[in-house]
Amino acid sequence: MGYKLKLAALCLPVAGMLFAMSAQAATTLETVKERGRLICGASQGTPGFGAPDDNGYWRGLDIETCRAVAVAVLGDKDAVDFVPLSGQQRIPALQTGEIDILPRTLTWTLQRDANGINFTQPNYYEFTGFMMPKSLGITRVEDMAGASVCVQTGSTTEVVVNDVSTKHKLDLQPVVFDNTSAARQAFFSGRCDALITDAGALASTRASMAKNPDDYIIFPATPYVDALTPAVRQGDDQWMDIVRWSIQALIAAENFGITQANVDDMLQSKDPRIVRFLGVDPGNGTSLGLKDDFAYQIIKALGNYGEIFDRNVGKDSPLKLERGYNALFKDGGMMLPLAFQ
């Protein structure tokens, strides 16, 4: 190879980089549409919230939240790829563009919000809880003096353990693990007296891992309720709106009494608000850069929030969680439907 050729070969990648620098970054909506798939951060296996079933099909409350966005953007609930992420991987994965949306039992906190990600709309409210064997005879935090607690890193619970221990002078002994399943196994092998994480995840762990689920008790670690909220990258307002209103569509549908079964009949509703919601009256969807009937498509494919809740974590699931905080606002819960207009 002549050396002029070598020089040219050397210049080529440099030129390529300069070109790449000048290219305008595409919006998330454009990227997802062009790719034809939504990429969604999932947990490494919390049945009820996000885990593959026996056939490898992802199921769970967080998973269906992602599917709702996929329906809104791509019109297909199966046009989603799920990337299992650990607690520490998840936020960098979102920030660096590896995933488009992170609906993975992520607590909405100030530090996270201020630092590179945006939260959309809570899809699950709950307290942080302790799970303990009933045989220890402890049913509240105040009696836990000296208990060792299995904790997983990459969660807000590490700080909660310390807060609780300081507040009640418990001298809790944390045993911190890098991955979820190691923390859970250590708890069930008896290494720790208690396991701490979101109460829903505790219920999921108990239902899927305990030999006899009735041997374990779950109680709140703090009097505070956390808002688990799907997050998106900062700096793309349109995409944040799309995710927020896709989740809102699920909640609003339940408020309107629209279900997967009756959504077609509802198209003929006399209520102008419902007709607007379903996109018979144009305007809502196109404002977001979507089709006008995106809410109709979501409900048609997945059902409303109540149906998704019952099927994954509620009365029709092994977890049998109460609606509690996650009931609609009109039923005493915190799921507040916003105005689709």
Binding site: P92, G116, E158, V159, V161, R233
Partner: protein, 380 residues
């Protein structure tokens, strides 16, 4: 003039070197600039000011004192201290174990040598992470819960939560006594080695230890620091007080040491076997015993062959300590993961980890290179 310059090989090679260096610097500049722009665009905070903020998360065990109200910087220090502590213990155990293993493999006793070969095959061929999880599983499954803990000796408790044993507790000022004792030990060794060079090492050691022990007792008596034996007591759900060995630490030390021993053993065996057969024959001709030949003739020569591969083995062992996250021992890697999650300062925290491991590795290899130069064959 210009043409002659153009056709000068020297000039051309200089130009090429300068161009390459320029391109490299340009690339680095471009990467740094791009990173900063992208971070700013995504609203990710940068900078090291978070290091002074309180960490707020717990660390399950540490060799230096830590409370969650300490800063993130101190949390990193705790992680580094745990990593170093783990590395030192593992390296000492693996070096001693490796020497024993190598001698066992070369022994004439068939059972001993075959067992040693079997050991090497077994531990070298199972991934380290699997071994660690195995030992951790063992540590947390063979023993009973704290309430039914085994008590093989009075005050010593074996349970799922680890081993508790009575420990000496020093009152206020204990740190100064320990520091003075260490200084005394160093001074004893230094002075003793200078003055009594001709006395054999085996005879020197007991008197050193004697002087050091008596001296320490005198220092303790003069300092008047309260000292008592504290036994672990079952309090609430767990034992309190005394010395404590956690199953996490036990699993990582045992796992790493056994695994590394298989490699150090092979390195030492290789070194010993590389020393010429003539050295043995010469030793025997002088009427030396096999043990004398091994420790006085063969091993010193083998050391020259052993040190370079041993250096890289030490380096990989230090890096292997990061696998401790799998069993929940809070070494630097686990602390860095937690800090990243609490603060989102991934870039800075990873840079801290890189810096620490680079420093530790360079120190280890500098020391080993110095040692290697010292023992190298001096040719005249």
């Amino acid at each position: 003039m210009l043409q002659s310059l153009w056709y000068s090989d020297r000039f051309r090679s200089w130009i090429m070197q300068i161009a390459l260096l320029g391109a490299l610097l340009g690339l680095l500049y471009w990467i740094a600039g791009n990173t900063i722009t992208n971070l700013a665009e995504r609203g990710i905070r940068t900078g090291f000011d978070f290091l002074a903020h309180p960490a707020r998360f717990p660390i399950s065990e540490s060799v230096v004192h830590y409370t969650p109200s300490d800063s993130f910087l101190w949390a990193f220090v705790v992680g580094v201290a745990n990593t170093l502590w783990l590395s030192v213990i593992t390296l000492v155990l693996a070096t001693a174990g490796g020497l024993f293993l190598a001698l066992a493999q070369l022994a004439k006793h068939p059972l001993l040598s075959r067992l040693a070969v079997g050991y090497v095959t077994l531990f070298r061929n199972i991934p380290l992470i699997v071994q660690l999880l195995f030992f951790y599983g063992l540590a947390t499954s063979v023993f009973p819960a704290p309430r039914d803990a085994f008590e093989p000796l009075p005050g010593v408790f074996l349970s799922l939560r680890g081993v508790y044993a009575p420990g000496l507790v020093m009152g206020a000022g204990g740190g100064w006594v320990i520091a003075a004792s260490i200084v005394l030990l160093l001074v004893t060794i230094w002075l003793g080695n200078r003055r009594f060079r001709d006395v054999s090492l085996v005879r020197r050691i007991p008197s050193f230890v004697g002087i050091w022990l008596v001296g320490t007792v005198i220092i303790g008596w003069l300092a008047d620091v309260p000292l008592h034996l504290e036994s672990p007591v079952l309090h609430g759900l767990n034992f309190r007080g005394g010395m404590y060995l956690s199953p996490e630490f036990a699993a990582i030390v045992v796992g790493l040491a056994l695994y590394t021993t298989a490699f150090t053993g092979e390195i030492i065996r290789g070194g010993i076997e590389a020393v010429g057969k003539g050295q043995w024959e010469g030793g025997r001709a002088l009427g030396l015993w096999d043990r004398q030949i091994m420790f006085r003739i063969i091993l010193p020569q083998a050391l020259r062959i052993i040190v370079p591969p041993m250096t890289s083995q030490y380096l990989s062992t230090v890096k292997n300590t990061t696998l401790a996250v799998a069993v929940g021992y809070p070494e630097l890697g686990l602390v860095v993961n937690t800090v990243i999650n609490q603060t989102g300062q991934a870039l800075e925290s990873i840079m801290v980890m890189l810096g620490v491991f680079l420093t530790v590795s360079l120190t280890v290899s500098l020391f080993m290179n110095w040692f290697n130069a010292r023992i190298a064959l001096v040719e005249r």
